[in-house]
Structures are given as structure tokens and as C-alpha cells.
């Protein structure tokens, strides 16, 4: 058995799990946070994307034991005091979802790509390339791409306003 301890959405949590326990199982079953989805068993769909130490990773392709000592953010950790994160707000505004199954992974991937490229620096081709690991069966991606572009531009504006 492995004793794992991490900062999950700003809160220190710990638990004792089998060594083979996937991080996504620890988050969903041990911690009861079901915002992180599991859409495949081949590591290809991206529904489980979360941030570990600030980087987007697939929670279904990492052991909970590997995440011991890290800082983890899931979809539940994005909104601040009842206010949606700009990416969440943009998905609602631009209808970036239909059934919503892929949405947690899409949003976590989007926040990561905006951080890496810098707010305001995303064009459509870059967004589509960055989304290669996130599969959506419903939307045809068009409104997802639109939402991410809008959020990226909006966040650049917010940054300017803050400066």
C-alpha cells in the first residue's frame, strides 16, 4: 500500500491506496471529486486532464503514488469564490459543450494552453493543434475553439486592466 499526500485544489489531502491506484481513481473515489471524468481506457480521450505541479496531464495515466508530494488542480479548483474561471465562463457563453462529458478535460487543457502561450496569443490553428489529445463526440469542436479563443483574449484584457 502507498501513503499519498498532496495539495488538492489548495487543500492538503492524504490517503492510503494500493500502489496500482490511478490518480484519477484517488481523486474521484477516495476524495469524492467527480468533476474529473474517465472517457476511455487507452489514454487517448483527454476527459481526465488535470494539472499536476502546473502542467496538464492525464489523471488516468499516472499512479496516485507518482503524485505524492505534488500540487494538483482539478476542474473543481478553478472557480474562485463562486465566480467562474474565465475559461469556464467562455464555455458557457459560447456554448462550448453539448453533453458535457469532455468538458472538464477540455477546460483544464485550455487553461494550460493559455498559460503556456500567454493570454491573447492563441490563434485558431494553435488551439486546434493543442486540442489533439481531447476528444469530443458532440460539438464538432467549433464552439470549443471559439470559447478558448474568447477566454484567451478576455484574459489578456484582464491582465492589461490589472497592469
Amino acid at each position: 500500500m502507498a501513503h499519498v499526500s498532496m495539495v488538492l485544489n489548495g487543500k492538503r489531502v492524504s490517503g492510503t491506496v494500493e500502489d496500482r491506484t490511478l490518480l484519477v481513481a484517488f481523486i474521484r473515489e477516495n476524495q469524492g471529486l467527480t468533476g474529473t471524468h474517465v472517457g476511455c481506457d487507452t489514454s487517448q480521450c483527454g476527459a481526465c486532464v488535470i494539472h499536476v505541479d502546473g502542467k496538464a496531464v492525464k489523471a488516468c495515466t499516472m499512479l496516485a503514488a507518482q503524485a505524492d508530494g505534488t500540487e494538483v488542480v482539478t476542474l473543481e479548483g478553478l472557480a474562485k469564490g463562486g465566480t467562474l474561471h474565465p475559461v469556464q465562463a467562455a464555455f458557457r457563453e459560447h456554448h462550448g459543450l453539448q453533453c458535457g462529458f469532455c468538458t472538464p478535460g477540455m477546460i483544464m487543457a485550455a487553461v494550460d494552453m493559455i498559460e503556456r502561450h500567454g493570454a491573447g496569443n492563441l490563434d485558431e490553428a494553435t488551439i486546434r493543434h493543442e486540442l489533439e489529445g481531447n476528444i469530443c463526440r458532440c460539438t464538432g469542436y467549433q464552439n470549443i475553439v471559439k470559447a478558448i479563443k474568447a477566454a484567451s483574449d478576455e484574459m489578456a484584457g484582464l491582465q492589461q486592466a490589472a497592469e
Binding site: 487507452t42 483527454g46 492525464k58 495515466t61 499516472m62 507518482q66
Partner: protein
């Protein structure tokens, strides 16, 4: 996934000792190949030895006229490295096209080459750039390292520690990705040395993994232009054939990707 025991190694010697103690142990690097395989129950190691916290296996540094990359360095780190972008742009481009962002944040060069998937990207860069692989036991040339589909010269208890890439005058990689997995259906790495000599290595297409194309190499040595390879095709005889594409289709892709790589490098 079957039961397993997870260990975190603090040094290469520690990792070797942990492996030696295990019944049927395996090294765990980024886990982007090993964990999916274990989830499918196609692998069931008794022990996993995590090498990603070993400081000496991490990082990218200049080493004379070469770039040395630690085995546990991620694809994302290689793609974002200013040093790699400046000295071997084709290598940075290749790393930035592996899988997807989440795979690149975890997957490592050591894990990729130890696995030697016939559709993996890195083997083509190692062979075209005449890289050297260093392990905890020895150093090997890339061509001696890769020995066949999913086969390498590594002993069961041998640990890749770094890969050293001599800088090239020109380098570029072009791949035709499988639309679902992003693995190469055919990927061609072209590298020109300062003395004008050229190496062309193909991944994704060969039944025995990565291979060189001597005809393209000599044609490019006398005329480094896309037209020089446009009329050269590889035989379909030893190429992969599966639901994604026949061997004849892959043979054609090799010529097309070679043209694109030369164009990108020119």
C-alpha cells in the same frame, strides 16, 4: 491493472539496486506507454521503479558541439528548449509533435527509445543525427541501440541515462500522423552535417523499426533540395501493413515526408 509495488529511486545506483531486488521489475519513467499497457493487462511487472525524481537523469545541456539530454527529460522540455531549437531545430519540432500536450508533459526520451515502438518519433532523430546513447553500463551508437520492432540492445537491468546529439548544419522532421493516435504512419528525419553529408532516417513504416535510406542520402549530399528525393521510393517489401495503411501506401508516404523534411530544412 494487476497489483504492483511502486518505488521511487533517488539515484541511478538506487534504481539499479531496486530493479535487482524485484521479482519482475520495470523502470517507470513518464508512464505514457507502460501504464496504458498495464491498464490493458498486457504487462504485469511485480515492481515499478520510478526514475523521474533522479536529478542526474534530468535536463538538457551543451556538451562541446553536441546536446546531451537526460533520459527522464520530457518531450515538452525538449520542444521548449532554446538550446535545442537553436542547434537542432528538427529535434525540437519532433518533440513538440509527439502525441498531445498531456503526453508531452509526462513522456520522456529515455522511455521512448527504450520502448522502440516502430511508430515512435525519436528513433528517427537518433539515427539521422548519429546520436550516442549512454546507459549505466556503456555507450552505444543509435544504430547499434535499435535492434528491431520493440527491441533494443538494452539488457533487462540496464538503465538509459542520457542521449547525446551532435549538432547538425540542417535538420528537419516531417511526419504523417495517424489521425487518432498521432503516432507516425511514416516520419522522416533529415540531417545535413557541416561537411555536406546527409543522413535520412524513417520511422513508422518499417517492420523492423527505424531504417536509413542510402539512395536519398547520396542524392541529397550532391543536391540538398526536395526535387532530389522526389523520384526515389523505398521498396514496400519490408514495410508495415495494417488497418491504417498498406505497405505500398506507406512507401509513398516516405517519399512525400522526405520531400517535406528537406523543404523544411532548406
Amino acid at each position: 491493472m494487476y497489483e504492483t509495488n511502486y518505488h521511487r529511486a533517488g539515484s541511478v545506483a538506487d534504481a539499479a539496486a531496486l530493479l535487482a531486488k524485484a521479482d519482475d521489475g520495470k523502470l517507470l519513467s513518464g508512464g505514457q506507454t507502460l501504464l496504458p499497457t498495464m491498464k490493458q493487462r498486457l504487462a504485469a511487472p511485480s515492481d515499478l521503479v520510478d526514475v523521474t525524481k533522479i536529478a542526474e537523469l534530468k535536463g538538457i545541456c551543451e556538451d562541446g558541439n553536441a546536446i546531451s539530454i537526460g533520459a527522464a527529460t520530457t518531450h515538452a522540455e525538449v520542444a521548449a528548449s532554446d538550446l535545442v531549437k537553436q542547434k537542432i531545430p528538427g529535434l525540437a519540432k519532433l518533440a513538440g509533435g509527439i502525441g498531445d500536450p498531456a503526453v508531452r508533459h509526462m513522456g520522456t526520451i529515455g522511455g521512448s527509445i527504450a520502448n522502440n515502438d516502430p511508430a515512435a518519433d525519436y528513433p528517427s532523430a537518433l539515427v539521422a543525427l548519429n546520436a550516442t546513447v549512454t546507459t549505466n553500463k556503456r555507450t552505444l551508437s543509435a544504430e547499434d541501440f535499435f535492434t528491431g520492432m520493440f527491441e533494443t540492445a538494452l539488457d533487462d537491468d540496464e538503465i538509459v541515462t542520457s542521449v547525446s546529439f551532435p549538432a547538425a548544419a540542417k535538420s528537419a522532421y516531417a511526419k504523417y500522423p495517424n489521425p487518432a493516435s498521432r503516432y507516425a504512419m511514416a516520419g522522416v528525419f533529415v540531417a545535413q552535417q557541416a561537411d555536406g553529408s546527409v543522413r535520412v532516417a524513417v520511422t513508422g513504416a518499417g517492420q523492423d523499426g527505424v531504417f536509413r535510406v542510402p539512395e536519398m542520402e547520396s542524392a541529397l549530399a550532391s543536391n540538398f533540395a526536395p526535387d532530389a528525393v522526389a523520384g526515389i521510393s523505398v521498396s514496400a517489401d519490408n514495410l508495415l501493413s495494417d488497418i491504417h495503411g498498406s505497405s505500398a501506401y506507406r512507401a509513398n508516404l516516405v517519399t512525400v515526408m522526405a520531400k517535406r523534411a528537406v523543404e523544411a530544412a532548406s
